[in-house]
């Protein structure tokens, strides 16, 4: 995003406007049955220390052996980020002491990561998009978990997570506001979920972000940055960035300077707090791990993985715009999740694309939201919905009845067509029956007739009464036409 900063992203200070510069380091847990260097399982929520091998516990003489599938997942992710895959990469040891780091070092990739430069296209309000540069992606081990609240005098350690494979995805400082940072994270999440390389679950910690924030005068030289650690929801990321940018602006405007440091976001207080300064930063003493040979990847293997990549959100969005004639906004919403896009495509089969997207947005997503369900858990299949819409289109049922049918199928299950027949919900297009209903309503309400003739807008009341009389099954167009002629109203009105 090298273009001049847009006005709306700038923050106003006492002395003028400031531009926020944001880069992100996202830790994405690799979807894999086994850990990066041991055969231990990785399932979330297992009882403490039940998924720990001798390697994970750093017993004497234990050696790491690379899990090839984790490498494949990293390569797949790199390809999804349109990034350069490094044929040769190196695992290094990052040395520091902590009880949840059994080896006393984390195996990571320092100077030679498995994936190099790439890019992510982010979707912005108004259908705009922007490119965010990816600097690198590397593989590393996760640490265990220290539990400080289990005992009055002791801290406990759970090593289930120790050694689980993470991908650290580092962006360029290309983001300019909290919304862009959130859009970036959403897009990254969509991509890894499409690829099946990370479940993107922020609540369970399988996707975590460190956010680097600095401020500068628009277009000026970069300011000193602060790193905000482990912010674990989209909402908190936005809050943390906004708080931190404002904090930095206030310091600069009051004549101070920014100290390069690591900060923690306190979600309760909604503020960032200093954790350690640059001077207090660890000296990690990185060096190549002598237990592991450099990772050499075969070009053919990379090409095989590439050939197996699914259609990714951007391509899918472009296809939805082109093939279905959707606008960028609708297409963008549909492709955020692969399951939603797939559902839509099934739903729209053979019917008007816009009708399908409206039905999905207004009827399905609304109900899912109300019931707290995901699209994958939707009780009514895309095919069933497709059948309902098809019945509206061919005049079998009205739009109103269609919603009733959806409600029935939603709560009771069943095939929509069968429901229509079994409950006699077919639309009444027989003009004789509609005329009879119209006559009945007119006869009962002579005063309203006069009023409607004087003020044609009031005819709507008659439509409602006739629909009520016919149990909602009357074809609305037919009711309108008959009423107008019977009341002697003009065609346009």
């Amino acid at each position: 995003m090298s273009q001049a900063a847009k006005k709306s992203k700038l923050i106003k200070g006492e002395t003028g406007e400031w531009e926020i510069v944001i880069g992100m380091e996202v830790h994405a847990q690799v979807l894999s049955e086994a850990k990066l260097f041991s055969g231990a399982a990785t399932a979330f929520g297992a009882s403490p220390n039940s998924q720990v091998s001798f390697v994970d516990a750093a017993m004497p003489g234990m050696l790491p052996v690379i899990n090839r599938f984790c490498v494949e997942q990293a390569v797949r992710t790199g390809l999804g980020l349109k990034a350069k895959i490094n044929r040769r990469s190196v695992f290094d040891r990052k040395n520091y002491f902590y009880p949840d780091l059994p080896q006393g070092y984390q195996i990571s990739q320092y100077k030679q990561p498995v994936v190099g430069e790439g890019e992510v296209l982010i979707d912005l309000p108004g259908g705009e998009s922007a490119v965010v540069g990816i600097e690198r992606l590397h593989l590393e081990q996760d640490a265990g978990k220290s539990l400080h609240d289990q005992h009055a005098d002791y801290s406990y350690v759970d090593l289930n997570r120790a050694g689980v494979a993470l991908m650290e995805i580092v962006s360029r400082p290309d983001l300019r506001c909290a919304d862009e940072a959130v859009a970036y994270l959403k897009k990254l999440r969509a991509i890894v979920r499409y690829l099946g390389t990370c479940d993107g679950n922020m609540e369970e910690g399988s996707m975590r972000a460190d956010v680097n924030v600095s401020v500068r005068r628009p277009g000026g030289p970069l300011g000193t940055r602060c790193e905000i650690k482990n912010v674990n929801s989209m909402r908190f990321i936005a809050q943390a960035i906004e708080f931190e940018a404002r904090r930095q602006v206030d310091i600069l405007e009051s004549g101070g300077s920014i100290r390069q440091e690591t900060r923690l976001f306190d979600s309760k207080a909604g503020e960032t707090r200093s954790m350690r300064s640059k001077e207090e930063a660890h000296d990690y003493r990185y060096f190549p791990d002598p237990d592991l040979l450099p990772l050499e990847l075969d070009e053919d293997w990379i090409r095989t993985i590439e050939a197996s990549l699914p259609e990714l959100p951007d391509e899918k969005k472009a296809r939805f715009i082109k093939d279905y004639g959707l606008d960028a906004y609708d297409a963008g919403v549909l492709v955020t999740e692969r399951e939603l896009a797939d559902y839509y495509e099934e739903l729209a089969r053979g019917i008007d694309a816009k009708l399908a997207v409206n039905w999905l947005n207004n009827e399905i997503l609304g109900r899912l939201n109300k019931d707290g369900l995901s699209i994958a858990e939707c009780p009514v299949s895309a095919t069933a919905n497709n059948a309902i819409i098809a019945m509206i289109v061919d005049g079998t049922i009205s739009g109103k009845i269609a919603k009733d049918i959806l409600d029935i199928v939603w709560s009771e299950g069943g095939d929509p067509k069968t429901v229509v027949e079994a409950r006699g919900l077919r639309q009444v297009t027989d003009t004789g029956a509609i005329e009879a209903a119209v006559e009945k309503v007119i006869a009962a309400n002579p005063d309203k007739v006069a009023a409607a003739q004087a003020k044609p807008k009031l005819a709507g009341w008659f439509v409602g009464q006739v629909m009520k009389e016919t149990g909602g099954k009357a074809n609305p167009q037919a009711v309108n036409a008959i009423l107008k002629s019977r009341l002697g109203l003009p065609d346009e009105g």
């Binding site: 050696l63 002491f97 060096f287 002598p290 237990d291």
Partner: protein, 493 residues
């Protein structure tokens, strides 16, 4: 008739096969010798019950005609190899009570071949030392003494307990590990054969790590043939060790007697060092003459970077050790200091109490050379030197098939003689460290006695994975040297 204790591995193998002796009888003789030799302090842990149970199993197998390669042969195991259910200390207080729930690949290979374990041998703490004086369990004494002297001598190190156990006939053979000379140097000063295989030939899995890129297990035996037999059983391709090399293990005994006729033996001129005792140079010269007399061609070669080997080694090895030993933190296993105030205090006290002086020194050196600002000056340059040293050997091997050098710069020295001066201690490895830095195989063969009657060895260095060639040249030296001397059993065997 020779007592069973004095048998070579090959002789005992024959005796068992021909049922002249049972494994039980042999093992009992060794257990008795082991018990009588306690003044030597060669063993940290004796396992007589285990030995007898294994011997009984072997006798049953032999009776059924199902004897395997090492069936019923009692061995001593360096206390750096993790042995399931048997305390494994690495010569350190920090692992004083550590009982591994797993078996190292090398020892498992030995038990799978039918060998019997007598116990775990004493060693320099974490294999850091050249005299076995850094052991938490006290120094090992060399069974050899200078003529007419009662001065206690060191057995070399770090595999000093194994060397003494073999030299004093407490076992048929022993395992050792060699990071900078820890098999070959003690073998030389105790009058036995010690072979360090090519890096990657024996699995490192389950061996307590000192310096991962240099550590290699190997046999310590009474004869060159025994080294061939034992190496054949120790070596394997191990998927649990990423640095294990996928090459079939040949029959090392097969070509043992092929002789050196037509071989070209290189004499590296840089191994003539100022201040070395004339006896060392004379023995080296004699060795070359022996090989020449058997039909080998002697050529002078140059290894120009030899003088940088010791400094490079004392950067690389401590650097890796500082990281490898970080896992001994008192949190999960091993020594934990009492009364720690907080986690930092726990680390400092546990490690301060658990590690001896030499280990602490090397951790400090290693931490220093990897630190920000010093990495390039030390670690990077040492790695470059390592490449140059390996290239020296590669170039030398274009002119010859194997190299002949002294094994040590002198005979066994007195206990306490060099402990005050680490650099003079480190110089013991001057002829052996180059081989580890280049990852090559090397053997030390007893070749003569000093005028005081102390053993000296000659070293043969071979091309990578040419253990067979090294053994063949070693055998030729053994035949010519006809080294029959034995230490007087003053300790009361």
């Amino acid at each position: 008739m020779t007592t069973p204790n004095a048998f070579t591995l090959a002789e005992a193998r024959e005796a068992l096969k021909e049922k002249r002796l049972s494994s039980r009888e042999l093992t009992e003789a060794m257990i008795a010798a082991m018990a009588a030799s306690r003044p030597l302090n060669a063993f940290v842990t004796e396992t007589p019950e285990k030995a007898l149970a294994m011997a009984a199993d072997s006798d049953a197998r032999i009776a059924r005609g199902e004897g395997r390669a090492l069936e019923g042969l009692p061995l001593a195991i360096k206390d750096l190899f993790c042995t399931r259910g048997v305390r494994t200390t690495a010569g350190s207080r920090i692992l004083e009570n550590f009982v591994p729930p797993y078996e190292s690949t090398v020892t498992q290979n030995l038990w799978d071949a039918g060998a019997v374990m007598l116990g775990k041998t004493n060693m320099d703490e974490f294999a850091m030392g050249s005299s076995n004086e850094t052991s938490y369990f006290g120094p090992v004494e060399n069974p050899w003494r200078a003529e007419g002297s009662n001065k206690k001598l060191v057995p070399g190190g770090s595999s000093g307990g194994s060397a003494t156990a073999v030299a004093a006939d407490l076992c048929l053979a022993a395992t050792g590990t060699d990071t900078g000379g820890s098999i070959r140097q003690p073998a030389a000063v105790t009058g036995i054969v010690g072979l360090k295989p090519t890096y990657g030939r024996c699995s490192r899995w389950g061996i307590v790590a000192f310096a991962s890129s240099l550590d290699q297990a190997g046999p310590m035996t009474k004869t060159v043939r025994d080294a061939a037999i034992l190496l054949g059983a120790m070596a394997s391709v191990d998927p649990m060790d990423a640095t294990s090399v996928d090459m079939p293990v040949p029959d090392y005994e097969a070509g043992l007697e092929a002789g050196v006729k037509g071989m070209r033996i290189g004499i590296p001129k840089e191994y003539r060092i100022d201040g070395a005792p004339p006896e060392i140079d004379a023995l080296w010269h004699k060795g070359a003459e022996w090989l020449k007399a058997q039909g080998a061609e002697i050529v002078e070669v140059s290894l120009p970077h030899t003088k940088y080997a010791l400094p490079a080694y004392y950067i690389v090895a401590p650097a890796e050790a500082s990281s490898n030993l970080a896992r001994y933190d008192g949190v999960r296993y091993g020594h934990r200091a009492a009364g720690a105030k907080d986690i930092t205090d726990l680390y400092e006290k546990s490690r301060g109490e658990g590690f001896g002086k030499e280990v602490r020194r090397r951790i400090l050196i290693g931490t220093y050379v990897l630190s920000a600002g010093y990495y390039d000056a030390y670690y990077s340059r040492a790695q470059k030197l390592r490449t140059l040293i390996a290239r020296d050997f590669a170039q030398a091997f274009e002119q010859c098939d194997a190299l002949l050098t002294p094994a040590t710069p002198g005979p066994a020295f007195a206990i306490g003689e060099k402990t005050a001066d680490p650099v003079s201690m480190y110089l013991n490895d001057v002829f052996t460290v180059t081989v580890n830095l280049a990852g090559l195989p090397g053997i030390s063969v007893p070749a003569g006695l000093t005028k005081e009657g102390l053993p000296l060895g000659l070293q043969v260095i071979g091309k990578a994975f040419d253990e067979a060639g090294v053994l063949r040249v070693g055998r030729a030296l053994e035949v010519a040297a006809d080294f029959k001397a034995k230490p007087a059993a003053w300790w009361g065997a």
